[in-house]
Every structure is written in structure tokens, then in C-alpha cells.
């Protein structure tokens, strides 16, 4: 039963992150996902300090606000301050993450949360739950409920927003020309990434969030040339990574999040070797791309 809970939580996180990650990597914004997943930290801490509770809603709002702020900052540094995109991302998220770390260390007396928890998380003892320990209460619904709810939210968003994300990702200029707001869809995606990140944060930590945002979608990208299939394959690899990752962690008695990331990486390696598009083992069979 315990194992089932861990795998379920991991799968929900993998599914939410993966579905959004597909659009992130197609927008060449994978590192923006990385940035958001780190930068929401001060949002979480501030929401906690302001609301003085560990309720999910204020934390989600805090994280979503900082997530959108992150993308605004990145875009401002890129377009107004004329820095390179990667430099803008690097500056923004290290800066915001550092603010989050400082906030945590300042309140480390009341909040039992350290940098390791933030980075690596741990399903085994759901560290952020300890936030409400001073008054002796544990919140009822475990991470399974929270990540499950998050997954349903993202699933609905991807089903109903599919065409919107598709067209604004593929050809934003054309989308704008037919009257679709690219700005709206951009910030919808960024908010969803922020919310997913904070939902997933406490159980799996920032590293696994980034891994699930990027690695299963990248694996799927290597294996298919249809967007729908890419979403399905991402879901499949995400769940498989959670499943085998958990048993790998049990077998080596190591970090669950770490093991899940490693398994996701193994799937990527297999895809690299076997991909019909650019697989190393099939290279000779591919017709060369027509240019011109």
C-alpha cells in the first residue's frame, strides 16, 4: 500500500510535468521550466509567511505569481536589457531561488525546511508537512490527493487547450494574425508550470520536477512525429519512470526522486539508441532531410 502511494504520487507528478513539458520543449523553453521550478521557492515561502498556514491555495497563488514574475523578468532581461536568453534565465532563477533560500534560513526556527528538501524532496517523509507541526496538527490529505488534483487540472488544461497550445507553439505569428492571443496562452502555460511545480515540490523536490518536465517529453520527441503521440508517450515514460524508479530506490536503498530521474534518463538513452528519427543504431536507414 505504501509503495502504491509513492508510485501514484510520482506518476501524478510525472504526468502533470510531462504534459506541460511537451509544450515547453517544443517552444525551446525547457530551461524556462527549470527556472520556474526553482524560482517559485520565494513565492512558496512568502505565501506561507503571509497566510501563516500551509494551505494549498495561498501557496499555489504565491507560486503562480512568482512563476509569472520569473517569465516576465526573463523576457525583460532578454528584450529590454539585451542579455542573451540563457544568461537571462540563469540570472533570474538563481536570484529568485537564492531569495527563497535566504527566507527559509531566516525562518528556519519555525519552519523545518532546508535546502536539501527543496532540491531533492522526499516522498518518504513529505518534508513540508512539518510546517504545521508547531501546533501539533498534520493536514489530512497526503501528497497523493494534492498531486492527483494537480494532474486532473493539467489534464483538463491540455485537453481543452490543445489547439491553443499547438498553434501558439508551432507558429505564434500566424496565431496572432488569426486573432489568437499568444500572450494569453504563453502565460497560461507558465502559470500551469508554476502551479504544477509547487504541487510537486513537496513530494519530489525541484530536481525531479525539472527531470519530469524535460526528460520524458524529450524521449517522446525522439520517437514520434505527431504531437498527440508525443503527449501519450510522455505520459507512458513518466509513469514507467515513477514505477521502476521507486523499485530501484528500494533496491539500492537510495533517494526515490534520484532513482526516478535516473530511470527517466535510461529511457532517454534507449530512445537515443533506437529512435526511428535519429537513432544511433538506425542512422543508415534514414533518408536525409530535404533542404531548400
Amino acid at each position: 500500500m505504501e509503495a502504491f502511494c509513492f508510485i501514484l504520487t510520482g506518476s501524478f507528478v510525472a504526468l502533470s510535468c510531462g504534459l506541460l513539458g511537451v509544450f515547453l520543449i517544443l517552444r525551446k523553453m525547457a530551461m524556462v521550466g527549470d527556472a520556474i521550478s526553482h524560482a517559485v521557492l520565494p513565492g512558496i515561502v512568502l505565501a506561507y509567511l503571509v497566510s501563516e498556514s500551509r494551505d494549498t491555495i495561498p501557496m499555489l497563488l504565491g507560486a503562480a505569481a512568482v512563476g509569472v514574475l520569473t517569465t516576465l523578468l526573463i523576457e525583460w532581461l532578454y528584450s529590454k536589457a539585451r542579455l542573451q536568453m540563457d544568461a537571462s534565465i540563469g540570472i533570474t532563477f538563481t536570484w529568485l531561488f537564492a531569495i527563497g533560500i535566504i527566507l527559509i534560513s531566516l525562518y528556519t526556527g519555525q519552519v523545518d525546511l532546508d535546502q536539501d528538501c527543496v532540491l531533492y524532496g522526499e516522498i518518504a517523509y513529505v518534508p513540508l508537512d512539518l510546517w504545521i507541526l508547531p501546533n501539533g496538527k498534520m493536514l489530512g490529505p497526503g501528497p497523493v490527493w494534492i498531486t492527483g488534483g494537480g494532474f486532473l487540472l493539467i489534464l483538463g488544461l491540455v485537453i481543452f487547450g490543445f489547439r491553443g497550445f499547438e498553434i501558439t507553439t508551432f507558429n505564434p505569428e500566424y496565431a496572432a494574425a488569426i486573432g489568437i492571443s499568444t500572450v494569453f496562452w504563453h502565460y497560461l502555460l507558465m502559470s500551469a508550470v508554476s502551479i504544477t511545480t509547487v504541487i510537486s515540490f513537496e513530494s519530489v523536490g525541484a530536481i525531479l520536477v525539472v527531470a519530469f518536465l524535460i526528460v520524458p517529453p524529450a524521449t517522446a520527441y525522439l520517437l514520434t512525429d505527431k504531437l498527440q503521440h508525443m503527449l501519450w508517450l510522455t505520459a507512458l515514460f513518466g509513469v514507467l519512470s515513477a514505477f521502476f524508479g521507486y523499485y530501484l530506490a528500494v533496491a539500492i536503498d537510495g533517494s526515490i526522486a534520484g532513482a526516478m530521474s535516473v530511470v527517466a534518463g535510461i529511457f532517454l538513452t534507449l530512445a537515443l539508441l533506437l529512435s526511428p528519427k535519429g537513432g544511433v543504431l538506425r542512422k543508415q536507414k534514414i533518408p536525409s532531410r530535404t533542404v531548400g
Partner: protein
């Protein structure tokens, strides 16, 4: 048809305070194939993007069929440059063309059977039915351009803006696109095309807008395509200048095939 399709007044567009388009003022009649021609960096693409409101303009206003863009958006179609998308994107030809049926209003719903039929018809019009299920990176440049045009056709618009549809296009695709354009003209559509190649411009278009940051001249091709106008647009660029004088001096214009030589 003396309807006005495009009307532009005092349009100025700047990037970083440097004007890219300066005080542009012209109107274009409906029902013609209209070329927008000028040297590199003369603001041709910027003109289309300003018309589609993809970039802000510093001054001036634009009317399409006597109305602002927002009112007539369903009658307007835009074909961006081929380089504007990542052709490795995981979609098929059919999926791209179906995007031509997307609207702000129907984005959350599935496409109707009629939408899908229109998309398939558009694919047929550009002669790409055999490739409909191909992923778009497996197409030649010309075929990719035809996919973009098919997506635009699926919109069933009246006024089309195309950015360099002939750039990097093979002969077969060029013929297919030209045939399509003339049938669009017969159907009363207006097509405004950014075109970089002077050699072919005169034969492709019956109207022309000659541009170099300022408007040099807009009018029927015969009046615009004079040595004086071309020198004003391309002045200083010696290689092109010599081409220009060649072009204008040659009375029988030997570059294109017979069908384009009917006017001596």
C-alpha cells in the same frame, strides 16, 4: 472591381527609433495580384506585419475593406515567411493546414467535419494530397511553402498577405503556386505578395508597391516598373542597378516564358 482592399495612411514604423517604414501612404484595389518589391531591408516584411498588427506602428492607420483589421479578420489571411516556424515540429501536413480553420471562438472545440473537408480541399488545391500525412520536415522547401499557402486557403479569406512565398522554391512548386494565384485572382481574391526577385516580379504581378523605407510608387506594374522608379528604390546598389537597366531596356523582356511576353 474598383473596391479598395487595403488603405494605408501615414504609416511609420520604427525599430529602436530607426524608421523602417516612413510615412507610407497608398491604397490597393481588390481583385489583383499585388507585388511588394524593394531591396533588402526596405521594410517589405515590416509592412505586412504592421498590416496584420504583429508589430506596433508609430503613427498612421490601416483599413482593410474600409474597416480596421479586428472587424474583418475572418476575411484576411496571412502567410508568414517559411523561416518563421521550426519545421521539425511534430505535425503532419494535414494538421498544419487544419490550423487554418482555428478561430478564437472555436479553439476549445474539436474541428467540425466541414472544417476538415475545407482543409483537405485546400491541400488538394496546392497539389499536396499525396503528402497529407507526412511530417513537415520531410518536405522540400517548395512543398513547405505550399503547405503554408494551403493553410491560408483553408481560411477562405478574401484578402491574402504572403511573405516571400517564392523564396527557395523549386520550379514545380513555383508553377503550382503561380497557377493557384491566377485562379485566386479569377475568383476575385486579392493577394499581396512580398517578393525579392526583380527578374520575375514584373511577370508575376499586375499591381506593384515599390518600397524603400519610403514608398517609391504604388500602381499598375507598367507604371511602377520604370527605370527611374527602380533606380530610386535600388539606387547605389550597383549590381542590381545594372540588372535594372537591363530589364527596362530589353523591350521584349526575354527572361520568362512565352506566356509572360504578351505585352511588348
Amino acid at each position: 472591381m474598383s473596391l479598395t482592399a487595403v488603405e494605408i495612411h501615414n504609416l511609420t514604423v520604427t525599430y529602436d527609433r530607426r524608421p523602417v517604414l516612413w510615412d507610407i501612404d497608398f491604397s490597393l484595389p481588390a481583385g489583383h495580384l499585388i507585388g511588394v518589391v524593394g531591396p533588402n531591408g526596405s521594410g517589405k516584411t515590416t509592412l505586412l506585419k504592421s498590416i496584420m498588427q504583429l508589430i506596433p506602428s508609430s503613427s498612421g492607420y490601416i483599413r482593410l475593406f474600409d474597416q480596421p483589421l479586428e472587424e474583418v479578420r475572418h476575411r484576411i489571411s496571412y502567410v508568414p515567411q517559411r523561416e518563421s516556424v521550426d519545421w521539425d515540429f511534430p505535425v503532419s501536413v494535414r494538421q498544419v493546414v487544419r490550423m487554418g480553420r482555428y478561430r478564437r471562438g472555436n479553439l476549445l472545440r474539436r474541428l467540425s467535419a466541414q472544417d476538415k473537408a475545407l482543409a483537405d480541399h485546400a491541400i488538394e488545391q496546392v497539389g499536396m494530397t499525396a503528402f497529407a500525412d507526412r511530417q513537415i520536415s520531410q518536405l522540400s522547401g517548395g512543398q513547405q511553402q505550399r503547405v503554408f499557402i494551403a493553410r491560408s486557403l483553408a481560411q477562405e479569406a478574401d484578402l491574402y498577405f504572403m511573405d516571400e512565398p517564392f523564396a527557395g522554391v523549386d520550379a514545380a512548386s513555383e508553377d503550382a503556386i503561380l497557377k493557384l494565384l491566377s485562379s485566386m485572382k479569377e475568383a476575385g481574391k486579392t493577394v499581396v505578395i512580398v517578393h525579392h526577385d526583380l527578374q520575375t516580379a514584373r511577370s508575376f504581378f499586375d499591381w506593384m508597391v515599390l518600397l524603400n523605407t519610403r514608398l517609391i510608387k504604388a500602381g499598375v506594374t507598367k507604371e511602377v516598373f520604370t527605370s527611374q522608379n527602380l533606380q530610386e528604390a535600388y539606387g547605389g546598389q550597383l549590381t542590381i542597378l545594372s540588372q535594372v537597366s537591363d530589364l527596362v531596356q530589353e523591350k521584349d523582356f526575354p527572361i520568362r516564358e512565352k506566356q509572360y511576353r504578351d505585352k511588348p
